[in-house]
């Protein structure tokens, strides 16, 4: 899902940088010292998880933990996603430098959709966790497919999206387990996800005490 350089038009890459950096700047506002270690731990977990790749359908797919990231960090997940993708691009050549903005936008959208779904407390706890993990995998996959379509690039992307859907089910199950466990045992660990004003009304606070 990390798009390499030379695939997307430059205008799309520039727009991707503008949007993702703006989102990262908004997500970093009023950062408190006590929030940083959790952001660091989740950045490390996402960085390692995305290196566990599964060869399939002539390519490779990997876990992202974006739903978990979004549910635990809320808007703070966007700067974390940008930092992790920058490292992956430098160290593993996952995605290009020109496409870093678009990649960050795709993954950031996955994390934020996970965050929104996790906060819908009308749904059962386990289902919210599952949907957060599943959306964290599927939203970036669908955005990548849309961008490839825009650029007139790619083959068998529908097949790959099907593969990501299967992976999304696995990741949804894992995310659900972790979030349910944390919600029941350490709910204060899920306390960073502060909803912005624009989201009030569609989302509400999760169950249990907050930090």
């Amino acid at each position: 899902m990390h798009i390499a350089d030379g695939i997307l038009p430059v205008s799309l890459c520039v727009a991707g940088y503008a949007m993702s950096l703006t989102a990262a700047a908004i997500g970093s506002r009023k950062l408190q010292t006590e929030e940083v270690p959790r952001m660091g731990m989740l950045a490390a977990a996402t960085f390692v998880a995305s290196c566990v790749h599964i060869p399939i359908a002539g390519s490779s797919v990997h876990f992202g933990l974006l739903g978990l990231l979004g549910a635990m960090l809320g808007l703070r997940s966007v700067p974390v996603v940008v930092a992790v993708l920058l490292l992956q691009s430098f160290l593993f050549q996952h995605g290009g430098f020109l496409t870093l903005g678009v990649n960050a936008l795709n993954m950031g959208a996955g994390a934020l959709s996970g965050y929104l779904l996790w906060r819908m407390n009308r749904l059962p706890l386990g289902l919210r966790g599952f949907l957060a993990g599943f959306a964290g995998m599927m939203v970036p996959a669908l955005l990548v497919m849309l961008e490839f379509q825009t650029a007139g690039y790619g083959r068998s992307l529908l097949v790959l999206t099907g593969v990501y859907a299967l992976l999304g089910i696995l990741e949804g199950g894992f995310t659900s387990m972790v979030l349910t466990f944390l919600q029941r045992t350490r709910p204060n660990m899920l306390g960073l996800a502060t909803p912005p004003q624009s989201f009030v009304g569609v989302a509400s606070q999760p169950e249990g005490p907050s930090a």
């Binding site: 270690p37 960085f47 390692v48 060869p55 083959r155």
Partner: protein
């Protein structure tokens, strides 16, 4: 409490050791060897998995424009190999694209069209470090940035309260 903390650390270390063999990032590595005037190009994902049946385009030394017609196009075989015969000396560019977002380019310098059978391989285009090394570097950077950011925020908080 302390025993639980040690158990947690041991569990973490065991988990890292267990998943280590699957830590195969999909960095695209390319290389090329000249054999009797043929260029044998090879593309692999890191961990030696071949980039099979991926689209390949070859551009000759005069094709400055990457969008110009390629000298040759085709697909890698099941082992991730692609072979072509250059018709002039200079720097050639071979680009492989698996059409799901991974792309790599290898430059091949042809000094003579009648190269000896065992010409030196073109330098593989990869960072050269092992996956584990790069993971350790990445994690070190993350925790280093966390430390610096915490120090900066703490200092700023102190300055504001003072």
């Amino acid at each position: 409490m302390k025993a639980a903390s040690i158990r947690g650390k041991l569990l973490g270390a065991a988990l890292c050791l267990t998943i280590q063999p699957w830590l195969l990032a999909h960095d695209l590595q390319t290389s090329a060897v000249l054999v009797d005037g043929f260029v044998v190009f090879q593309a692999n994902y890191e961990g030696s998995e071949a980039v099979s049946f991926a689209a390949v385009s070859v551009h000759g030394p005069d094709d400055g424009n990457p969008h110009a017609d390629a000298y040759q196009t085709g697909r890698t075989d099941a082992e991730g190999r692609f072979v072509f015969i250059p018709n002039r000396t200079g720097k050639w560019k071979v680009t492989v694209d698996d059409e799901v977002g991974h792309r790599g380019t290898q430059e091949v310098t042809i000094t003579s069209l009648t190269e000896p059978a065992t010409a030196a391989p073109a330098a593989p285009q990869s960072s050269g470090r092992s996956t584990t090394d790069r993971l350790v570097i990445g994690l070190s950077v993350i925790f280093g940035v966390v430390g610096l950011l915490m120090a900066f925020l703490q200092r700023r908080k102190g300055a504001v309260s003072a």
